[in-house]
Symmetry: C2
């Protein structure tokens, strides 16, 4: 019997097709390479091909926009939002709009031509998280912004484009993304009733049951969510309660880098180097003066959501918010636990 | 300057990339044919290849599951939900689930091997709508179900599979889809404040401004929504207020078929026969005895959402609920208005 399962945080029902007896390895990628690779503007030595860097990790004696760096952040050459200007919130009849003010930055995660974050060293991945935190702290100073979306598109099918060089993207916006709002509301409702964080409860249950647990290492777990939308959808959560990714201490950043390296290597080996997306879910900026999202510290819990792009999404999901997952998350978790890396 | 626009019903912000100066015809499909077509089980004469029909439009003197029909409905051969059984709502620790009870049916829209609904006659399209209504009325009698999702996947990229024969799908579920709930809540909030239907207001504004209007014919309009998520996203709405698609009278069904035929023909001609999805948004079942969604009659408004599949969705949209639309809906509407069919 297939199951209808409800996401405990945002209340979305999904169909889990338990009966189709799909083997996990059936979902391994049939590679869709996309068009030929372009010359890489992100490798060391190609600095003049990008806009001037906003941030870098590099030795003190090397000038900006020159070789010698380990990680660089540059503005997108095709930004979706503009950094200069006023928001000008306004109405147009019944509609609301504002100027497309925001930041759109590219985090070039390595100076070498490496495509998949799985193949970076733990030190390099730690650098990436250090960079996310530094950029978020910097962008928080701009009072026009409410949120920074950080995400990665790896592989052609996942929107990774024609250049196969590991990078993430960052979009700072004057609005909160809908999904984050839904999580904040759902987590608040749970907290109001139970006086506990819903994610902390979820972590305890997943560690106890082990059914959907993929990794449990220093301070972090990776789980296949109970109401997964996609085969091999994976959430990475810190065991210690925190709403704010930027509060992560140095040791924890290293531990997270270790878990991500192992997890992404398992995906790569087990599923034939699949395209994937990940998205960081963290609290919106909580500036004292705005009194904004006051109690979020106790009820929200940051996490990373990873979605391998193994199935074609049919499209009615966009119209209905209703998903059908062809592989039970328990089977996905078991498969990934057993991949040796 | 790009714009941030807010969907008035569900409050989702989107970036409209007004500045990239994309020409509408740049989005025309580069055909991705998918694997070779399979022998068609949906053509007249192939009735034994499908499960027995649940419903058909056929002359009275022809037996079921034999040739002579104009339209047939059959159960899916790979149903996501099972029709037999009890719901058994239950908990699993903090999680909620129930048995995957539901119906999953295929509406075969013509006995001829025609791929695109645009190429059906208006009479055939009217038959399709008649069928939707008859099936919804029948499924409403099953008290386990709350909602019937009706959608179409046309073309390989849109999940249309290997058989190029025009059909829609119907999934009856014991839960309401998340997106429909969000629309019900948003429409209710607007009604509570204004004592008017938000969709009726939207229709009036779109007809007055004409900026996003694609078609305005007997009783219906087709518009590019103000906060479109995708290029050429189109909503079809009845001008007369009604929350319930099944309440559509016979003349209105014909008028809707006419508008859909013109609209889908414009998409086909203007955008090189693109893959597309459509989804019917209508009120959940409102059974008197359940007192369910009591006042929905005045505040919700059924409509059809059509999404041509012209751009690769990068994936962070799934993680954030935040979309970037590379073409202003005003440009899309102007382009489609000018396509002659």
């Amino acid at each position: 019997m297939p199951e209808l399962r409800k996401d405990p945080v945002i209340g979305r029902w999904v169909i889990i097709a338990t009966e189709r007896a799909n083997r996990p390895d059936q979902f391994a990628t049939v590679s869709e390479a996309g068009p030929a690779e372009k010359t890489c503007p992100f490798c060391e030595g190609s600095e003049p091909q990008t806009p001037p860097e906003i941030y870098s990790i590099r030795p003190k004696n090397t000038p900006r926009n020159s070789p010698g760096w380990e990680l660089r952040v540059v503005p997108s050459i095709a930004p979706f939002l503009r950094i200069e200007g006023e928001l000008e919130r306004r109405g147009k009849g019944m509609y609301d709009l504002m100027n497309g003010i925001g930041a759109h930055e590219i985090v070039i995660e390595t100076n070498q031509h490496i495509a998949n974050m799985a193949d970076l060293s733990e030190e390099q991945i730690t650098n990436v998280f250090n960079c996310y935190i530094d950029r978020m702290n910097d962008l928080e100073k701009d009072l026009r912004f409410k949120y920074v979306m950080i995400f990665k598109n790896y592989g052609w099918v996942a929107g990774g484009g024609r250049v196969k060089h590991s990078r993430s993207q960052l979009i700072a916006t004057p609005v909160n993304p809908k999904r984050v709002k839904e999580e904040l509301v759902g987590a608040r409702q749970y907290f109001d009733y139970h006086e506990r964080c819903i994610f902390c409860d979820l972590i305890k249950q997943e560690i106890a049951s082990k059914d959907r647990l993929i990794l449990d290492s220093d301070g972090f777990i990776a789980v296949a969510p109970f109401a997964a939308r996609f085969p091999f959808e994976t959430w990475v959560l810190p065991k210690k309660h925190s709403c704010d990714f930027t509060a992560l201490d140095n040791d924890s950043r290293k531990n997270l880098a270790h878990l991500m390296k192992v997890l992404l290597s398992k995906l790569k080996k087990g599923l034939n180097d699949p395209p994937y997306n990940y998205v960081l879910h963290t609290a919106p900026f909580r500036r004292q003066k705005l009194g904004y999202w006051k109690s979020i510290d106790s009820d929200y819990h940051w996490h990373i959501e990873i979605i391998p792009r193994l199935t074609r999404v049919a499209g009615f999901e966009w119209g209905t918010g209703f998903y059908i997952c062809p592989l039970p998350p328990e089977n996905a978790a078991k498969f990934l636990r057993e991949v040796e890396v």
